[in-house]
């Protein structure tokens, strides 16, 4: 198994004829993702350059293909609309890549789309190595295995995955949850899934400054999965308070969102925190029971 996504997941791309949507559809297909079609209003009936059918609405696409997953590449003003449309059409898993979606739009979407798991917005998507990739992650860095990874950032994720792969740790599923203040799925949402996944035998949590998502994750680990080998990393430890660096959500305000509070929380939950990404594989090896590896 893996979480959220496997090789049979039927995936739509909303905004498939745009330049980003089209480019990444090609990459996802090359990775082996089961993309069954796309949606661009007004272009229904056409075929994409990849030979995929285009539909005018998500309803039409779901009716014709039985898609359950969607990947959204529309501009920020239309992202919430696209998510609501997907939910209305019965999609159960949506990845929103778009950066710059108004936070209020996201508040409304997450509050009113029960039954649909959302990853993002402003995220690189997710990948179950060897099976399927939904989003913009570079597939060649990943390798199938039994380490789950959750991260708020994109390129830092690739850095960490590259280190894991080189150290012989393959991955079950890697989820880039996004760097915005309000996101569809938090660390805890993903941890809950990993907890019940047979393939996942260890987890890496890549957090960063801002918010209290990492503290929530630490509390969840302590209460619900103390036996699972988990290693954490916190990016932006040297960032100043009051200024967000790159990610809208990466901001220390007052006592909230400081790296120390996150490190303390993880350590209190028995989760070692790597000082630098290159320490993650060895910390993981120490936590893994003997004989278990990729």
């Amino acid at each position: 198994m893996s979480i959220f996504l496997d090789k049979n997941s039927k995936v739509l791309v909303q905004g498939i004829t745009g330049s980003e949507g089209s480019y990444h559809t090609g990459r996802m297909l090359a990775y082996g993702t089961n993309i069954v079609g796309g949606v661009t209003p007004g272009k229904g009936g056409q075929k994409t350059e990849h030979g995929l059918p285009v539909f005018d609405t998500v309803h039409d696409a779901v009716a014709a293909t039985g898609a359950t997953h969607t990947c959204i590449f529309v501009p920020p003003p239309f992202a919430a609309d696209a998510l609501f449309e997907a939910h209305d059409a019965g999609i159960t898993f949506a990845v929103c890549i778009t950066e710059g979606v108004p936070v209020h739009d996201v508040l409304k979407v997450v509050g009113a789309t029960p039954g649909m798991r959302i990853i993002g917005p402003n995220c690189p998507g997710l990948i179950s190595p060897g099976k399927s990739s939904v989003g913009i992650m570079p597939g060649h860095v990943f390798k199938e295995g039994n380490v789950g990874l959750i991260s708020r950032s994109g390129t830092l994720t690739y850095e960490v995955v590259d280190l894991l792969t080189r150290a012989g740790f393959g991955q079950s599923t890697c989820v880039g949850i996004g760097g915005d203040p309000i996101i569809g799925s938090t660390f805890v949402d993903c941890l809950r899934e990993f907890k019940n996944d047979g393939q996942t035998e260890a987890i890496v949590v890549c957090g960063e400054i801002g918010g209290s998502d990492e503290e929530d994750a630490a509390a969840f680990i302590k209460a619900h999965m103390p036996q699972m080998p988990i290693v954490a990393f916190i990016g932006g430890r040297n960032a100043p308070p009051g200024k967000s660096l790159g990610h809208a959500g990466a901001i220390i305000s007052g006592k909230f969102g400081t790296p120390q509070s996150k490190i303390d929380a993880f350590q209190a939950a028995g989760v070692p925190v790597a000082d630098r990404p290159s320490q993650i594989p060895s910390l993981l090896a120490q936590r893994m029971p003997a004989g278990v590896s990729s």
Binding site: H104, D105, L107, G111, S151, E159, I182, D216, G246, S278
Partner: protein, 390 residues
């Protein structure tokens, strides 16, 4: 984007939240003329984004035109004094002249975004007129909170309950639900990240009035209210944000610090990680810079010049992990930047890994540069070179 008090109160007025009578002026003469025409008790308040106006002597009282002119001059003469977050202080370009309220009590009321519950949170406390973080420290139990389900939205019972839970004076009970309704309305209508009334005054004659206004808007939502973009130009721009925009980057993609190792990486997480790596290697970073995805030659050159011209970097550490970004494109950009730039030159340490890594390394090798393999290695090399230079 943060609003000044007079701008926040304009939004309050539009949302039907009671505010004191007031006039916004930009010079002492207009202040004098207004008070001359409207004799009474007035408060003259500096319009700045920094907090601590009262302590800094930037809020004063006037009854006559003459007094108004004198205090306005005094307030505007010197900028807001610097503090830790605003080391340069802030110039005072305008004033709000406002009816002096006969205040009996001061409470606190705000709406913010709660990341854990993914909901707007309404907060009410009977301790108004002081920093809410102090209140949270000293009287955490006094802050009553309501997390609003956005599909149902705000209803008056929520405000009524909060008034009871926060143990507000009964005088607040009638006014609070409508005031919170106004805040909730403008929170969504204008895309605010924070709307705060502190203090929310209860007057001797029984009125509930927003005595101050703090509004932070989501930049990503500004397109919904284009008229507010004009307000933005009236505000002092952060220098780093201005430089970032000029270099074609997002406003959050560049930030300067005091160190001597210039940094650049693709992606915010890796850019923060790069700063951390420099620090771990015993050095100090000169800046945060996220060059963004798919960086092309022109962007790389702009970023190079940004760091050379505006930081004290004595070495420049470029840390690229090619996922979507192609290493050969970045390498071309670096070579082109060095060939065409008129800026000063410092030693470069380049780490280039990922998509099209081999082609990228070849391009750099042809130009006489040898990239390092890992982030830790690059950081150590950069710190060593910076130390040798200093």
């Amino acid at each position: 984007m943060n609003l000044m008090e007079y701008q926040g109160k304009e939004l309050f007025r539009r949302a039907g939240i009671p505010i004191p009578r007031s006039q916004h002026v930009t010079n002492p003469e207009d202040a004098a003329a207004f008070v001359e025409r409207n004799h009474g008790d007035w408060v003259v308040k500096a319009q700045v984004l920094m907090g601590g106006r009262g302590k800094a002597g930037k809020i004063k009282f006037a009854k006559t035109g003459e007094e108004a002119r004198a205090v306005a001059r005094e307030i505007m003469e010197t900028p807001m004094p610097p503090n830790r977050q605003n080391p340069k202080g802030e110039p005072i370009n305008s004033l709000l002249i406002e009816e002096k309220l006969p205040i009996k009590l001061e409470a606190y009321c705000a709406i913010a975004i709660d990341r854990s519950t993914k909901k707007p949170v309404i907060m009410v406390s009977k301790f108004g007129g002081m920093d809410i973080e102090e209140v949270a420290d000293e009287h955490p139990e006094s802050i009553a909170k309501a997390f609003v389900d956005t599909s149902g939205g705000y209803w008056p019972y929520i405000g009524r309950e909060l008034a009871f839970k926060a143990d507000l004076d009964p005088g607040y009970r009638k006014g609070l639900p409508g005031i919170v309704a106004g805040l909730y309305d403008l929170f969504f209508r204008y895309g605010a990240k924070l709307v705060e009334i502190n203090p929310l005054a209860l007057t001797e004659d029984g009125r509930v009035i927003a005595s101050d206004a703090k509004v932070e808007l989501d930049d990503d939502a500004l397109y919904k209210n284009p008229e507010l973009k004009q307000w933005q130009t009236a505000l002092p721009l952060d220098e780093d944000e201005t430089l970032a925009t000029q270099a074609g980057l997002g406003i959050r993609n560049f930030r300067r610090f005091d160190g001597n190792v210039g940094t650049m990486a693709n992606g915010a997480g890796l850019a923060m990680g790069t700063m951390d790596a420099v620090k771990n290697a015993g050095g100090s970073f000169a800046n945060f810079l996220d060059v963004g995805g798919g960086a092309n030659a022109e962007r790389v050159r702009n970023c190079y010049e940004l760091v050379m011209n505006h930081t004290a970097a004595s070495v420049f550490f470029i840390n690229i992990f090619g996922g979507i970004t192609r290493c050969d494109e970045v390498a071309k950009g670096i070579v082109e930047a060095l060939n065409t730039t008129k800026s000063r030159k410092v030693p470069l340490v380049i780490r280039l890994t990922g998509t099209n890594e081999d082609q990228g390394r070849r391009i750099l090798a042809d130009a006489g540069m040898t990239p390092v393999q890992t982030m830790d290695e690059g950081a150590a090399e950069a710190v060593k070179l910076a130390g040798a230079k200093a």
